[in-house]
């Protein structure tokens, strides 16, 4: 990216090292902006979709048309709110938690492939990298739960950590058949394997189809959404691990959560739904790629929102049961079956 910057007339005189720093800062800024704007958009759309499902309006006033700027107003409100902290909180951990959660989401955004040349960092281990960054979110949740010095928050943190590390297993296992098929962890390569007509999408391969559903359900657990919202469970744990947070710290949790929703959806789109390809070769012009990718990801985010306002939530033991006794065996069998078929066919 710094080469691009050096071609700009204004900056051409600057030394290369300054340009590198500039490039880094601006790339980070762009991603941060994407997360902030995207997160606010998702919060707004969640409220509108929830309103629609529940036969009410949702936000209607701020920003004129259907309250589009409601999230911005809420953001400003959260910024101006008093930052309250529990007297006996473990201050360093308590302060660090929202940053860790947000950092996890932020780092995942870096590798999302919006288009063949429109990706923050085209890592060879893209998929693996995304899985790794979610560990930071777990640490953030634990840190929040412990730092708050609140029993409900601690319960939320324990539930959250147990849930996320458990569901990472079926999540990873569900992705493996596709990785075996494409022979790469690079997100771009996985998408390119699905070029052409829609039947090339991994979703339409029967075994990958099973994987896709395991992935979608596990990803709900990964981002703590209903029916797996046990770390928050408003009616049980008051608000779970972020009970004690106010103002901007709370906003970071919130934004991180919605950014994570987008990340898991984008990975789902990348791996199973043909990424930036539309499924009709005539429409696959590079200019449309980011749009197609984002629209598909929005659709998966919409599904998550839709489920949240439809289903009740599971109990913590049922959640673990579903993970260890249903999804992991199915995902393992699926993986084995795919391996066998592939070996036999080749």
């Amino acid at each position: 990216m710094h080469e691009t910057l050096s071609n700009l007339p204004l900056l051409s005189g600057l030394p290369a090292q300054v340009l590198v720093v500039l490039a880094m800062v601006s790339a980070g800024g762009i991603i941060l902006g994407c997360i902030a704007v995207g997160g606010m958009f998702f919060i707004w759309s969640e409220r509108k979709v929830a309103g629609y499902i529940q036969s009410r309006y949702g936000p209607m006033y701020v920003g004129g048309w259907h309250g589009v700027l409601q999230s911005l107003a809420d953001g400003v409100k959260l910024l101006l709110k008093e930052d309250i902290w529990p007297e006996k909180a473990d201050k360093p951990l308590w302060r660090m938690a929202p940053l860790l959660v947000f950092l996890g989401a932020f780092l995942s955004f870096v590798v999302l492939p919006f288009g063949p040349n429109f990706v923050g960092a085209n890592l060879d281990i893209g998929l693996f990298y995304v899985m790794a960054t979610s560990s930071l979110v777990v640490m953030g949740v634990i840190s929040a739960g412990w730092g708050s010095n609140n029993k409900w928050a601690l319960y939320g943190a324990l539930r959250g950590a147990a849930q996320v590390i458990s569901y990472e297993i079926p999540l990873g296992l569900a992705l493996l058949p596709v990785v075996m098929s494409t022979g790469s962890l690079n997100l771009g390569t996985i998408i390119q394997a699905q070029a052409g007509w829609i039947h090339n999408w991994h979703l339409l391969n029967p075994l990958f189809f099973v994987s896709f559903w395991i992935y979608v359900i596990s990803s709900l657990a990964e981002v703590n959404r209903v029916p797996f919202d046990l770390p928050e469970t408003e009616s049980e744990l008051v608000s779970g691990y972020h009970t004690e947070y106010t103002g901007m710290k709370f906003a970071f949790f919130f934004l991180g959560e919605y950014a994570d929703m987008f990340v898991v959806s984008a990975i789902g789109v990348t791996v199973f739904l043909g990424g930036w390809y539309s499924g009709i070769p005539a429409l696959d012009v590079p200019a449309l790629f980011p749009l197609i990718f984002i629209l598909k990801s929005f659709f998966l985010v919409f599904v998550q929102i839709w489920l949240r306002w439809t289903l009740p939530r599971l109990r913590v033991d049922q959640l673990m049961y579903v993970c260890w006794k249903v999804f992991i065996p199915i995902a393992l069998a699926n993986l084995l079956l795919y391996g066998v078929i592939r070996t036999v066919l080749s």
Partner: protein
């Protein structure tokens, strides 16, 4: 019937019976304190009486008497339909032998008498204050406790004792490594975590507190504390005229105020033997059922929210909003309706009421249909609700359960059928019952009851004919204006009613109706003046909530919350 019951008791107890009465159709027997336990046991076990449901324990204070307090056990038989009150008189400080070994429901009910009157109960397992704060001094319902006297109490009560926290599992039949359980640095050491659910917790829907001892997420022991919403309904009643109490009844079960209004006036009218005109009766049935529908909408909606299904709540609250619009036009208020009057109603229905109500009921049915579709066969909901918080029929009766929660266990006890009042015998409706008495059955029972109530409302609307809505009885009804202005009798009548209020003849009686949560009873003692001498409410959710500790033992926190929502604990009614 009650006469025969009295004969049975008299022949069994013999000389210890002080006096008997069958005023207003309820058998009432007064025995010496020493014979109380024996009498109660006889009433419970005798095959001719079989009073298996202990409704309430009531205290009454007569400061001028040597045996100052009446302690009254009010019972009912589900099989024979017998209603019996056993009364005993004790002096200040004289202990009464507890009945909590006979009925679990006696536990909390006796605590209440102890709390408010200071009557001690011997052998009671857990005799603590219940409605007032543990630092409260004196006993609030004694006649010599001044009504204006407030007290400031600060220190919250510690519910679980150190002993329970340390050895909780042993007390409750589980083993544990004792070596850990030592006192270090004056702190209690335990493998278990205590948490406070409430008084302000999203799942308590009102102010109540549960202190639970958790092993992981499993509740191994818990205790509940109520009284956060105690607004001295009973004390206030003694200071007001009979009509003035009606607004207070709104605030008992504030979710179905209309049903409470009807229940209260029925009880007073029973004492006075007043017949109300047919139109008034029909409207009362109608509004009572509206109250029931609204109550069930709230209960089921919030119960589902506790389980995580938020949208149902909005479907039900939208429907309730339609009903509220009708109620608001009917009586000018949405929540605190105060619609009934002793001897009649506040005012007649407005023009166009029926059309609007039919429209609203259509919306309610639509909402029920939508919610049923969302949850009835929903796998997650069934996993969360089937078999959770289950209770057997015997236990439920023993704990004094009534209403939808009891019916969910399969007992078809409904006051509207068992002892019909206000013309319910002429309506065509069924009593839905469940099988397992779990959260799932409770939800479905309430949903079906709403359909039945809609049916009753429709029948009531069909038979609404123009006519008077107030009784002709001059003891309760203002005379017409021309009588007031033109005759001395009318003038006197008006003057008396305004200045002294309604005079209920001296005596005592128990008026009861089917509230939204179960049997809503008003035990009334009148001394013939314009104010009640004593009103004791029998709130249906008080005995239900007393069993909560047993209900959730061994369940997980999430289950406890699902159970709590399904019991429909309304703090206003619970604490009064």
């Amino acid at each position: 019937m009650s006469r025969r019951a009295l004969e049975h008791i008299a022949s069994e107890i013999g000389a210890d019976v002080v006096e008997t009465s069958d005023e207003l159709g309820d058998a009432s027997v007064t025995v010496r304190p020493s014979a109380l336990h024996r009498t109660l046991e006889f009433c419970r076990d005798d095959p001719r009486l079989r009073c298996d449901l202990l409704l309430d324990v009531i205290g009454v204070d007569y400061p001028d008497r040597a045996e100052r307090f009446d302690v009254i056990y009010s019972m009912r038989s589900l099989s024979t339909g017998e209603r019996v009150r056993v009364k005993t008189r004790v002096a200040d400080g004289e202990p009464v032998s507890t009945a909590s070994d006979l009925w679990n429901s006696a536990n909390w009910a006796e605590r209440e008498v102890y709390d408010l009157y200071g009557v001690p109960f011997s052998d009671h397992p857990d005799l603590r204050r219940i409605l007032t704060h543990h630092e409260f001094k004196g006993h609030a319902l004694r006649k010599d406790y001044p009504i204006e006297k407030g007290q400031m109490c600060y220190v919250p009560e510690k519910l679980l004792t150190d002993e329970e926290i340390r050895f909780g599992p042993q007390l409750y039949g589980r083993t544990m490594d004792r070596s850990d359980a030592v006192v270090e640095e004056e702190e209690i050491s335990s493998d278990y975590l205590t948490v406070n659910l409430g008084p302000s917790h999203p799942a308590t829907h009102g102010a109540l507190r549960i202190e639970a001892l958790l092993d992981g997420e499993t509740i191994i022991h818990s205790k509940s504390e109520i009284g956060y919403l105690h607004r001295c309904f009973e004390k206030e009643s003694e200071d007001h005229t009979w009509q003035q109490i009606i607004p207070y009844t709104d605030r008992l079960n504030y979710v179905s105020a209309l049903t409470n209004n009807v229940g209260y006036v029925l009880a007073v009218e029973k004492m006075m033997a007043i017949e109300v005109p047919e139109r008034c009766q029909t409207i009362r049935v109608l509004v009572a059922e509206l109250g029931r529908i609204m109550d069930h909408l709230v209960c089921v909606g919030t119960n589902l929210v506790d389980i995580g299904a938020l949208t149902n709540f909005w479907y039900f609250f939208n429907a309730r909003e339609h009903l509220y619009t009708v109620v608001e036009r009917m009586c000018g208020e949405r929540l605190t309706t105060s619609y009934t009057r002793i001897g009649g109603l506040y005012r007649d229905l407005y023009e166009g009421f029926e059309d609007e109500l039919r429209h609203s009921l259509g919306k309610v049915e639509e909402a029920i249909g939508e919610v049923t579709a969302l949850v009835q066969r929903n796998r997650i909901f069934m996993d969360r609700a089937v078999g959770i918080g289950a209770i057997s029929q015997e236990d439920a009766i023993n704990w004094g359960w009534t209403g939808p929660c009891l019916r969910a266990t399969g007992v078809d006890y409904d006051v509207r059928k068992a002892s019909p009042y206000g013309g319910y015998e002429t309506y065509d409706f069924d009593i839905p019952v469940g099988e397992n008495g779990d959260v799932y059955d409770r939800v479905l029972c309430r949903i079906e009851e709403m359909y039945q109530s809609i049916g009753i409302v429709n029948q009531a609307m069909d038979r609404l004919k123009p006519g008077p809505i107030f009784s002709e009885d001059r003891r309760v009804t203002m005379p017409p204006k021309d009588e007031v202005y033109n005759s001395i009798e009318g003038m006197m009548n008006h003057f008396k009613l305004v200045f002294e209020g309604i005079q209920v003849p001296a005596g005592e009686g128990y008026g009861f109706s089917e509230g939204a949560n179960g049997e809503l009873g008003f035990f009334i003692v009148s001394d013939g003046s314009g104010n009640p001498y004593r009103i004791k409410v029998r709130p249906p959710c008080f005995p239900i909530f007393s069993s909560f500790t047993e209900l959730v033992k061994g369940h997980m926190v999430s289950d406890a919350i699902a159970t709590l929502g399904g019991l429909n604990i309304i703090a206003g009614e619970l604490d009064r």
